[in-house]
């Protein structure tokens, strides 16, 4: 159980998060939605324990997050961030194996290696496991990072999996597949929090949707409760029609074409 209470986060007098409270239960997959700069990634970093809140409390499996030992935490909480800088010429397998570092002392055990293979297969990166990471395409790199993150908590279903835009660089097939993996893991007991931009992906894969704006939590509920024309406009300033898909009982969001008034591109010519 992940419990976030009255979280505030401030940098140089700018409030990036205000009074955010949120719960994630074992077996639940929660999607964070919001426009750029709404505070999604900030919240993810706070949830991972990488950054400390200015005020408020995060407790994870009954214990305050900040009190937990780093190595213990690394075995039950994994974060996939948006940017991955990698300046050394690591091979794919080496990077995925890094996910197992919290689990072994100096030499990886057999089970660590088995997990690495398993997650590489799942993420479709096994075929290029000996290639240098930097030589891969953006989408391939993203899958490798995902494999590393999965490897980290693969053998512990009480874990928290934090995925910040895990599918931003992926093709359609892998977008669906990665979300399906996240959902399947949640059904095994993992708590999953993910940031996505596609409302329909959120509607189809998430148990709950939390919408942020200007660092505040505005809406929190099941897809059908929160995805409506009004809320979508409030959060994203876009016009959308929301229909119900009777086969899944999940909402289906259709965006309307956005028209610019002529003045806004007057200076182009």
């Amino acid at each position: 159980m992940l419990r976030i209470e009255k979280l505030n986060y401030e940098v140089k007098g700018r409030k990036l998060l205000r009074d955010v409270s949120l719960h994630v239960r074992k077996g639940e997959i929660v999607a964070l939605l919001g426009s750029n700069g709404a505070g999604k990634s900030t919240l993810m970093r706070l949830l991972s324990g990488d950054q400390k809140p200015s005020s408020g409390r995060i407790s994870f499996n009954g214990r305050s997050l900040v009190e937990q030992d780093g190595r213990d935490l690394a075995r039950c909480r994994a974060l996939l961030t948006q940017q991955q800088q990698m300046s050394l010429a690591f091979k794919v397998r080496e990077i995925v194996l890094m996910g197992r570092y919290p689990h072994f002392k100096s030499v990886p055990r057999e089970q660590d290696l088995a997990i690495v293979d398993e997650v590489m297969e799942l993420c479709g990166v096994l075929d290029f496991s000996d290639r240098v990471y930097m030589s891969l395409s953006g989408g391939e790199q993203q899958r490798v990072q995902l494999a590393r993150v999965l490897a980290q908590v693969w053998d512990n279903p009480d874990s928290l999996l934090l995925l910040d835009e895990p599918i931003s660089a992926l093709d359609m097939h892998y977008q669906q597949k990665v979300l399906a993996i996240a959902k399947a893991l949640s059904r095994k007991g993992y708590m999953v929090v993910l940031v996505v931009h596609d409302l329909n992906f959120a509607a189809n894969y998430a148990d709950r949707i939390v919408m942020l704006k200007h660092g505040r939590k505005l809406f929190d509920g099941t897809p059908i409760e929160v995805l409506n024309t009004k809320n979508i406009y409030t959060v994203f300033s876009v016009e959308a029609q929301v229909e119900m898909n009777p086969k899944t009982l999940r909402p289906y969001v259709r965006l309307e074409e956005m028209l610019l008034d002529e003045q806004s591109i007057m200076n182009v010519i």
């Binding site: 209470e5 009255k6 059908i224 409760e225 016009e239 008034d261």
Partner: protein, 320 residues
Amino acid sequence: MLIKSKIVELDEWLFIEEVPDNYNPDRPLEEHRSVIEDESIRMENFRLSTSGLFILHTKMLFERAMHIHIEIEGEAITSQFVFFKPADSKLPYGMSRHNIRYIPSVKTIHEVKEGVEYIYFIAVISKEYYLNLIKRDSLLHEHFMHEIEKGQYVSFSEEDLMATYEMQHTISELIESKKTGEIRRLHTESRVVELLMYQFEQYNEKSEQQSTLFSEEDVERLELARQILEQRLANPPTQKELAAEVLMSESKLRKDFKEYFSVTIHEYLTRIRMEKARIYLLEDKMSVYKVALLTGFGHQNNFSSAFKKYYGVSPGELRV
């Protein structure tokens, strides 16, 4: 609601606007812009009205002190802002104050000084419209709601507060929007809610100082309450019974549940019943009759209408 305004010294109505009280999302918005200019006055007015809502934004500068009379007939909630600065200053409006009020009906006269540039903003919101924007049980305006129920004039904040940058920005978005039709309405509503929210938030921040977290004991009780609801959704306890089972007072349970889980007990129960119904119908292919029983709706009709209200389609429409 009837809203009218005049400059006392000129004794001529600037506008008289009749706004229906009811909240009607289909009613179009009407906008008016006008400029009044003579040797002693300069006013730029923007008015927007629709059923349940009236907005006035006035930028004004007077050569001599005058009085502005505003009259509102009918029960309303107002969000008011005044920004001001010396007329010769090139800087943005440095001074401001704002508040939210509930008025059963009111006549006010404001003095405006010479040589000061003012921006006056007011959103007059009928009680019905207001309760459509901000839910009755929202924690943001708990004490205010209590006062509204008494039907007496009340200000949300005892003293006016300074407007923040976010509030100014939201007001300018409201006024400067070039959108039309349905989208203008959506835009207006979302910005009005945003503005009220910023106002509530600033006041609450000021008054609470240190917000308190739940005690471990309270958390356990709330988690227990949730478990009880989930385990007995086919025959759930009343809120009174639930409170007794978790050893809390009913009012504390209601308030804390809402704050802790972001939904009321009733909404939560609806959510879990509907989630269960979804699985029973779609995955387990059960009959509507059986699902109605399993989710605690005694009668199939009650279930069907609750289902339709939640999902927008009736359970019968799923089997085609």
